[in-house]
Amino acid sequence: MKLLTHNMLTSNIIKGVTKGFPLGITSTKVEVKEVDFNPAFVVKTLTKIDYPALYQAAKDIGYADGLPEKLEDNIKENEELLKKLHNALLQVEVIEGELVCPESGRKFPIANGIPNMLLQENEVENVAQ
């Protein structure tokens, strides 16, 4: 699971959870898989992500090296920084680990790089159709 995906996920599906973001993240196995550097996509993606959550997640798994705590406005021109963000968003992958609901502590396992977001019947919120 890439940190871009982590940035998009919440645990708001659990009964009783109100925000569920950002999810905590722990890892026992992380791999950095090379992805073609595409500055246009990185810039586009940065407009949609929650940067503090990305920074925290990268820190939690030990891959925040060189990432600024806050994002400046002129990132477009800073290729070196874009490459670091590219790495954090698209190359760093949690292969084995867990996502943790910030409110209930419920854990979602990540196995083989694939997070399992399924809940048990008793955890599902009653949604009126």
């Binding site: 995906t5 919440t10 898989k33 595409n38 586009k44 698209l90 977001m117 008793n122």
Partner: protein, 479 residues
Amino acid sequence: MAARSAISPQIEPMKRYLLQFAHEHFDFRVQEIKSILSLIGCQATLKESDLNDGSPFMELELASDTVAKALMQRTVLSKRLYEFWEEGTSVSDVSTKIRQLPKDMIEPYTSESNSFRIVVETFNKKLSSGEKISRIEKLTETGSIFRGPINLNCPDYSFHLLEFYHNDATSQPASEPSKIYFGRWIADGQRARIQQYHLQKRHFIANTSMDACLSMVMANFGQIKDNDFVFDPFVGSGSLLVACAHYGAYVAGTDIDFLLLHAKAKPSRAKQKARSQDESVRSNLQQYGFESKYIDVLVADASHHKMWREGCQFDAIITDPPYGIRESAAKIANVQDAKVITLEEGAQRYPQKAQYQLGDIFKDLLNFAAKYLNKGGRLVYWLPIYKPDYQESNIPQHPCLEVESNCEQPLSTTISRRLITMVKIREFEGPESDREQKASIAVDHYQCETFRQKYFRATETETQEKKESDTLSSGKNHS
């Protein structure tokens, strides 16, 4: 386009072209062209009535060869595109007409220094090579406009004589062509991609993997382009993601089937005993060199929208929801007062899945798209239908989404599926509990009976009818 016409009020001169479609997926062909033209932002006039009598040839007007080539770079349902030179009802008629074409139109391609060839192609009739040669001779005999040398393998310019013979299956096939076209070849469509991405050669397939051609058609309907972020909530083996990655998109998906995504499901290929470890959506993208376009797949219930953070947006949602025929339609059961389940450390437990009513799948999908699509983004999905009961009011609606197209693929005499393309026309303004902001179906196609029941009732009736007609015809043979 609008901004440009403000500067120069005169309309760009349009040129006549001829498009040759492949003979399949009839209801999708014109729509695919329209969708691509709107994606590349080009004006065009299509003479759709050309196709009415079963002809694969359609005349159209486009601004330039550049536009024409861009169009052919994407279409999988068209074979070839020609610059329109002449049409007629006989070869000599066409041959006479092309001699009268304006010099400035033909000379750049017919002078002494340009090698050429003429290809004869017929539709609904086979010609012997002798008949073809006599046609070519008629076009190139004394006084012909073609002055360059003939080169069959690698000519500078290729000209096509295209003959359409009417054939309506009830009467005798026509012996004379109802229309003959002559044109200069401009570009081929993307038919070769169908082989390149063929499922037979795909590393990882599931029971309902979408074939390569329709996957690419869906990507065209979704107007997928470079750097898009595309999502498939019922991802399966990721066939649709492969097509979207081909057009430059980054892709992600979810599936409720844990075993499938983890390569532990029963194999879908005959004679294969177990899936290999690396059968994954990622490996499918890797196979075609699209690994950089892979974002993630997740095991998740597509009906749980709130799993996605508010504000996260996709450029397109392209999907083939499960109909409950070959793949069960399931979501996590919503058990009231369910006992708390305590799991021992490391124990694997699969939650109980509930039947997911088809009408609800589609309403959920529309609600999801209304919230998580970029404005202007497209939702493309299949809606299975039982033909005798189908009416337009069966199409799910949402105030934020507008139906762009609705094309039918017949699967049997009574069953078909419709490819629905919707465009997000306004931003979703919650709350989700607001009825005005929710998807609805005027007449639910699946209300009284599930699609599965309809499907099997139809199949039973068909088998029975076939048996009866078989007995009848075999009785005839004996008498």
